[in-house]
Symmetry: C2
Subunit: 174 residues, 2 copies
Amino acid sequence: MAAQGLVIVNTGHGKGKTTAAFGQALRAAGQGMKVCVIQFIKGQTKTGEALAFTSAFPGQVELHLAGTGFTWKQEMETVKEAALAGWQLAREKILSDAYDLIVLDELTYLIGLGIVPEDEIITLFRARPKRLHLVITGRDASEGLIDYADLVTEMRVIKHPYQNGIKAQKGIEF
Amino acid sequence: MAAQGLVIVNTGHGKGKTTAAFGQALRAAGQGMKVCVIQFIKGQTKTGEALAFTSAFPGQVELHLAGTGFTWKQEMETVKEAALAGWQLAREKILSDAYDLIVLDELTYLIGLGIVPEDEIITLFRARPKRLHLVITGRDASEGLIDYADLVTEMRVIKHPYQNGIKAQKGIEF
């Protein structure tokens, strides 16, 4: 019997949503699975995770950036365009049946910002190959997405170093 | 100025505590950092994360198992012995100044089970090299540990697949 792919959602306002998704990708890669990661919204290219996957798992873990970096100064149209291109790529990857695990990092914002309707996203998820696991991250996951998912975890902030004036550091935050 | 090492705690009853710690280790490895992971309590050797780190980052990421697998059938003495040996190893690694990041997976149980006093743990953390980041995982982190940490995240279960009768799967759970 083929394993049933799970839909995993990491949400909440705390740290660790993307980090856990990358840990999940690492675990899957270690078990010989084919992995594709699509990062929405974010535009940073030289992250530790990107460098690690590119050097350590070439041909087994793919990483795509579908963001421009999210700042309020930026034109919403530019953010939207990049996100829609990423969503188109996600559709192709999901339906390709070439992967065991696909990470859609920060996907929840596409619903939250009204860029892609929740219905369209869940319809695509339902049409995916049976074995395919999906990991979705982002704040404020919508009700329909939580309802459809198999595993949902909320990352809650108990304490954050910025509260103590400590800056983001290479290797830790990116 | 040397960066100030952070103490990061992933706690709570939800998924993603260890997964996020491994994601953190991956990110740090990608940025060229030296990483040591010590897994307490757990006794499983062929996990995806172990296989991935051993094959992908030899000499850069070290992984040590200091557990026997935690089951209630097991003698508490055996669990305790393995944990104490792991704690001794952690002490050596922390003071060695050979690492940028050390993950102490499931360390909170050592406090919770009365194997190592919280005071002794925090005293060692205070004596660590300035640059050294620590990531600690496990349920029910003690108050003193939370107080000492820079970044604390609680992973909360919103929905769990076992509730729907779906079994743990290779590449996802281990």
